[in-house]
Structure formats: C-alpha cells, structure tokens
Symmetry: C2
C-alpha cells in the first residue's frame, strides 16, 4: 500500500499495542490513528485509570514492561508496598511510575480537560506521533454477569478474579449516553484502511463498536476493513477471549471470530496454525488471510503489520 | 497531676505533633485525645489529603521526617519525579510513602467510611494508642484573602506561595454546615484538662474553635484550659503566625496570643525569652506560665508537657 494512506486501528490493550508498535515501525506514524477502548476504565483510590489507553501509550512511548506487555518498564512498588502495610487495597498492583500517569490524568480531568485532550498531551510528552483517540470522552463501563455472583465490574472480573469464572452476560453501562470521542467517527470515515486489532472481541472491540455510529461506518466500509483474530490454535494468547467465545455460543476458534466480524470486515487474518480453518472462515462470508500472528517480538509484529498492509494493497488493486 | 486524668489537646500540625509526642512520652497514652484541624485538607490529583492529621499521625506513629517535622522519614520521590516528567503539578511534593496514605484514605472515603473512622484505622495500624479525632467529618476549607489576589485556598497560600504574601481576611468554607466529629465535644466536656497546642491561632486553632459547640465548652471550662503560645521572641517557630497577628491587628508576640485566648484559657504558656511579657499577658486576664517552649528534640518536648501537667496540678490544688 502506498505510504500516503491513512490507517485507523480499533484497539484494545496488549494485542493492539503490539500490532500498533509493529505498524509504526514500518509505516509513517502520522498517518496512523488508534481508536482505543475505554470501557475497562475505572476509579481506584480516587484515581482515574484507563488500562487500555495506558498499555497503548506505554508501548508506543517505548516505556512498556517488555515481560508483561502492560505496565511500565523499570517499575518500582514503593507506594504499593506501603499501601499494603497500611491495610489498603493492592489487588490492582499500581506501580510508582504508573501511578504518576494516573495522578496526571485525574488532576487534568478535575481541571476540566477531556480524556481525549489528556491523551493527546501525554502522547506529545512521550513523543508518540500516531494519534490515539479514546473511543469516548464519556464514561462507559463494562460489567459481566458472573455465574453465582451477578453483575461485577470489569476489573473485578479481569484482575481481582483473574477472569477465572464463568460469564453469562455482558453489558456496557453508560453506552446509551456515550458520544464518540472527537474525530473518532471522522477517523473511521476518512481513513483509507481500517484494522480491527487482535483484541478481545467482547470486552475490548465490542465496546468500541457499540459507540454510536462506529458499527455503521464499518458495515459501509466492510471491504476496507481487515480484522486480526486474537485466537491461535483455539486459545487466546492472553485473557479470556476463547473462553468467552464458547460462553456466548460461538466456536472457540477463529471461525467464531469470523462469525462475529463477518458483517464488519472483508478479511480476517488467522494464524498459520489455524490454516485448516480457512474454508470454514470463508464460508462465513469473510476472506481468510493466513499468516504468523504471534507478536512475541517487534520483528514479528512488524511482519504481521506488513501482511495486513499487503492485504489492503491487494484489495485496492482489485477494486481498480 | 495524677496519672488518671484525661487530657484533650486542640491540635494543628507540626507544633501540636511535637507537643503530643512529648506528652505521650511521659503520660498514659490512652488518656490523651487530640482534636485535630481539618480545614487545611484538600484534594490534589483526586486524592484526599489531610496535612495536619498526617503530620500528627506520622509523628505519633514514629514515622515522621525528623528534619522537617512533617512528611515521612526515609521518603522517596519516584512518583513525583515521574509526574514532573509528564508535566504534572508537583508543587505539593507528594512523597511515595505519603502517597500510600492518601490512596488509603481516598479509597476508604469512597467506600463510605468517615474521616474519623479512617483516622482510627490508621492509628490502630501504626500502633498509636492516643485517640486522634478530626475536628469534623464534614468539609471545612480555610481560604485567605490575599492582597491583590482575592480569596485563595489554604494550600495555595501556604505551600505554593509559601505564605509570603499579605493576608487581608480569613474564612472557613463549609463551617456553617460542619458538625463536630463524633466524640469531639464529649472529649472536651468529659476530660480533666484541655491544652491548646502551640499551633497557628488563626489557621490551625480557630477552625477547630469555630466548629459548633467547641468554643462554648472552652469558655465554660476556661480554668481547665492551658494554651501554649506558638510565638517565641516575636516570631513563630514555623509558618505565618506572627505575621498574621499583625495583619489581623494584634501585638506580634505572646501578648497578642493572650488577647486571642483570654476568654478560653486560664493559663498561657510563654517562652523564657519572653518572660518580660508576663505582666502584659496577665493584664489581658490570663495567667502567664514562663518555661522553655522550643521543642527541637523529644526531651525538650517532654519537659514542656511536664510543665503543662504541673500547671494543671497546681490549678487542681488551688480549686480544692
């Protein structure tokens, strides 16, 4: 694809951050926009925490913990250790460097700045040239109905309970009143290519898709959309995506992902180990692109991004 | 004074904390209550910060920075340094250990605990046997009318501007609706002796006195009240107390303090260097007790506490 096309990526946390890092290593950064999930956001100790935005910001700013894919490199735990001694809640593991960002964001929110403005400020400070857009500046909060527990907040499910429980239902509180963040819709309408990153389709991608107007654009632009499956060999590389596929009645593999995205994307990228699933994916009405999707280092992430760019070029040529 | 009497101390920050530390080193801790100023409290980065309560807590819990008299010993600045790199506000100098306490307090407030409950929890955790009572569980906020600036919040005046500006007026926002904290009034009514600690009379003591009911008890019990002047040789040992005396039309020495407290205390403790002010203090209608009031180490603080206890004993014998 010529290096003048604008690309918008629909992004959750770790998987999206790795893909973006790969893409930005081979493509003009200023042409890339990421619309990032905010439905994982929550308040703890009074602080406004945005886990997906933070993961993407730390990764693209070159400050992420390379071992986990989230949190800060060279992190220390001076505050958390003391909080533990005081009898406070430490289940979320707030590191000292990470805390500084939450203090910054919370203070700026209280001063009246929007999450979008704050994100752009942080990108500028951290030298990130790609554009990161929170999906919404309003509060959207994922809740899961957990067997035997009723509705629980996302971070309770995901971090405190380590998503090790059965989910019966899903909802996004505040979604009805949430407007898309500034430039979210225009970034999807005006770009040349859209990527759905290999993020959890239920709790990372869907809360972006459900923001008013987003799904409409994707449906209309289906042939400019490439989705990357987060499932490899029947399992998610991270998190509860494969388990959730089954819990919500889908096949626990990339065919399940295909049936979720078939109306929104022209192509689904699936991993080489799942190549035999290609016919089933394509029978859902979505082209299957088989390539290496495991991004365990920046070189492999760049190769995946390269494959996605090649797919857009092929689609462009086909349309001409 | 027999070691069975209950003592309640009206307390601000550093001066009060040092006096309490001295008192607790020579007296049964369980018989001592401190009613602590909360009008310096504020929110920063979304966190609930209570500077006077923290200073007293850290001092009595053996964790205060011995060089400053406030903040934590062995403090580190990992979060603050990163916050500075992110372009955040760092004027209040939040240390890592100190932050842990603010995170704890903020979280507990959001869970519905009162400031009094939280303070008692922290005392238990830090092994403090004396009872610390916030003057109120409601929000009271000191504001100062600064020449050329209008009304500013206390921490802006005190920390950001280092109280290096002329004050024209003083007010306590929220005071009309602030109820005394649980046991505040009963601790003053039922104790055997009341001490007004050597704290700033305008911004530390007065916001306690103005809490509904407090001044009434002191007036009634005037002869059970000993106040300690925070002014030595015409200057406050710390902070703007002496400057404020002049700004509010009082003599800039312990005679000014006497005229502030004459209806509330039977005795005013003044420093040896001010012994020649005794007659003027007593002409205000308050007994002058001359002793060493400089608490630059725990031994001197204990000696001051001993002198105050002796004064109560003398008053008791006189009344018999």
């Amino acid at each position: 694809m010529p290096e003048s096309r604008r690309i918008t990526v629909i992004a959750g946390g770790v998987g999206a951050a790795k893909f973006l890092q790969g893409l930005l290593s081979i493509y003009p950064n200023k042409l890339v926009t990421a619309v990032v999930n905010v439905a994982d956001d929550f308040r703890l100790h009074g602080l406004a925490i945005s886990p997906d935005l933070d993961t993407v910001t730390y990764t693209l700013g070159g400050r992420v913990n390379p071992d986990t894919g989230w949190g800060r490199a060279e992190e220390t735990w001076r505050v958390k250790d003391e909080l533990e001694r005081l009898g406070g809640q430490t289940w979320f593991n707030l590191g000292d460097l990470d805390l500084a960002l939450h203090l910054y964001r919370t203070q700026r929110l209280e001063e009246g700045a929007t999450l979008t403005q704050i994100t752009l400020e942080l990108c500028k400070t951290l030298g990130i040239e790609a554009r990161l857009l929170p999906a919404s500046d309003q509060e959207v909060r994922t809740q899961l109905k957990v067997q035997g527990q009723g509705w629980v907040d996302f971070q309770d499910y995901f971090v405190a309970q380590q998503h090790n429980v059965a989910v019966e239902d899903l909802r996004f509180q505040g979604m009805d009143n949430a407007a898309p963040g500034p430039e979210v819709i225009s970034s999807l309408e005006e770009c040349d290519a859209i990527v759905i990153a290999p993020s959890n389709p239920f709790v990372s991608v869907r809360p972006i898709l459900e923001i008013s107007g987003v799904t409409d654009v994707l449906r209309e632009r289906k042939h400019d959309v490439v989705a990357i499956s987060p499932i490899v060999g029947g399992a998610a590389l991270k998190g509860p995506a494969s388990r959730m596929l089954e819990e919500f009645g889908f096949e626990r593999n990339s065919v399940g992902i295909a049936s979720l995205y078939k109306d929104l994307a022209g192509t689904l990228v699936i991993d080489e180990v799942d190549s035999e699933l290609s016919p089933q994916v394509e029978s859902e009405g979505i082209r299957a692109l088989v390539t290496d999707t495991i991004m365990d280092n920046p070189t492999r992430a760049a190769a995946l991004a390269q494959a996605v760019l090649a797919e857009f070029s092929a689609a462009e040529e086909e349309q001409q």
